[in-house]
Assembly symmetry: C2
DNA sequence: CTGTTAGCGCGTTCAC
DNA sequence: GTGAACGCGCTAACAG
């Protein structure tokens, strides 16, 4: 199966240029005779042809690839985002180069550097740090760079995030409607901008309701893992002498750990406990408790990220640097 | 920031060759003087350098990329597999080009063709069909191709799957220990090889116990989605006049739908119902029921896939074409 | 030790 | 309408 234009040229007897013109649909422009077109097209129909992207990239200084860097590819939120972004990319014949940073700044810099060296046309990053890479800072127009999920500002690049403040506000307000004066926020990974915003929303709602400091305990743990949730819940149980009647988790993983710990310490999860959590998942249905969750819109985020990626520079200047995507409050059993 | 070797050459006054030797760590081999090395290295330390992968690929006919095609990037199993594969790839300085087939044979062929045209060095596919693509069939040694998750045999390529038969056997045996003579298998997407194997395991275990046909009803639905689970469960409720006391689901999505339907029709999920499901998830903890689940080992699968990918051809012949990875039976509340 | 040279396959410009 | 020629940046072989 011939692949290069030169091979087709030799096989059909036409010059490489002629072959290229019909390959690139410029037959009309250069008035290639119908007969010639037919013979070439017939040959291609039988033997096929596919461009050599390496050669094309070398010539065009464009790779038709988009780099994606996220902390964890296995995380449901990032996986969904990636799936949505991939659909958008495919429509434009762009391929996705994916890499994971594991929330390690040093590793993040390495993979970003690698992606940059691969000449990606665009780079989408859910960063785990402020922009520190010199190569990134110097980047002007190419590749186009867009941040998402985490807004380390001031960021030199357009950034798309969920409206975490509003989400925190909404869910806490609703929780406090049914809570008897106390709502505890089990919070991990609190250094993240997205988590900070969630905390701000939570605090604002508490202020509104005049919830006292001692009744809206917030706990911080560095890592975002079930273990953090277990520790946070254990601390809370120790202080209260029992499991909290109402609590809010900063992520599903924290909720997992928190519930594990309640079960481990009290035998079972009281059905009257009112639960709130950031991020939504179908399996929340399995809890008999009243559950509130803040659902992010990955498809909308991917769309906005993609728009920022491909919009020409002139427009990019006009559009606001920070793009906040609405979230949705999901209620179960209440 | 200069990027090409030629630019460094001009700036430092040394020939391109000399520059390249120190760039590629061959200074010793060609006895570049220490002074020369230092001057070049200093220059690079200040101005940086990164190879042009397009040019390098064109020359070496190697892209240092691996293509990955899965039905759905957002699916937890595939997302975890991808995360593991990415780690292995990074260690070898390989980048992952990811694409989703959405279980559409035609789309699968398109993305595979695209990946092939991009010159990936390896291609990992969780196929949704038998190998039909002519380009694939003709592939001999390059790129290296490995299938996983689904064994459409006879496959010309090495294939890595979970031991679904054993998983089906194990979970059904355990279910039947506690079930009162009946165990219903709610099964979607039954055309998939992996699902077929799960069914075979289920049937074998039923045979062992002498479970009669009517007591081990198996239902088939084409699509793997919660909706399938809802329909399957509704049919079962209609026939039994109540929710089944023991049932097994072919996937977590089917379980989601099945439980939704039980809740919708009977108000709540009886805690005495014994549940089995393929695939494991931390959130299964949230069910108060006794739950059995078959957990796949994504890390082990990724490792074996990767091994097949990079092992030289000679070895590939020797190793068995089908590689079956053990699964683990997880028990909750029993 | 250092310099020169020849492609890899593609897109473009210029001649016939 | 068609062909020839150049250069993208890199590797590798060869010539000093």
């Amino acid at each position: 199966m011939p692949k290069t234009a030169e091979e087709i040229s030799k096989a059909t007897g036409f010059s490489i240029t002629t072959i290229r013109f019909v390959l690139n649909g410029q037959s009309e422009k250069y008035r290639i005779s119908a007969a010639t077109q037919k013979r070439i097209n017939d040959y291609i129909a039988i033997h096929g042809y596919s461009v050599n992207h390496a050669a094309r990239s070398l010539r065009l200084k464009r790779t038709d690839t988009i780099g994606l860097v996220v902390p964890d590819l296995a995380n449901a939120y990032f996986a969904r985002f990636m799936a949505e972004l991939e659909i958008l990319c495919r429509k434009r014949s762009l391929l996705l180069l994916t890499a994971s940073s594991h929330d390690d700044p040093e590793l993040e810099n390495r993979v970003v550097t690698n992606l940059l060296a691969r000449g990606v046309d665009g780079l989408v990053i859910a960063p785990c740090q402020e922009v520190t890479l010199p190569q990134l800072k110097k980047t002007k127009t190419r590749p186009a760079i867009v941040m998402f999920d985490r807004d380390y500002n001031p960021s030199p690049f357009p950034t798309v995030v969920s409206d975490n403040y509003q989400g925190g506000l909404d869910i806490t307000r609703r929780l406090l409607q049914d809570a008897d004066g106390a709502c505890y926020f089990l919070c991990s990974h609190s250094a993240l901008p997205s988590i900070r915003d969630r905390v701000r929303g939570f605090l604002s709602a508490c202020e509104e309701r005049g919830i006292r400091e001692g009744k809206r305990l917030i706990r911080f743990e560095a890592e975002n893992a079930p273990e953090a949730g277990r520790q946070l819940m254990q601390t809370l149980i120790d202080e209260l002498g029992q499991a909290p009647r109402t609590f809010l988790c900063s992520s599903l993983m924290v909720l997992e750990g928190a519930l594990q710990q309640i079960k481990a310490k009290t035998g079972r999860v009281d059905k009257n406990i009112l639960i709130g959590t950031f991020d939504d998942h179908a399996m929340l249905d399995w809890l008999d408790n009243r559950v509130l969750s803040v659902k992010q819109n990955e498809a909308a985020q991917a769309q906005r990220v993609f728009d920022r990626l491909i919009e020409p520079l002139s427009e990019r200047k006009k559009s606001s640097p920070l793009d906040s995507v609405p979230v949705e409050l999901i209620c179960r059993n209440l």
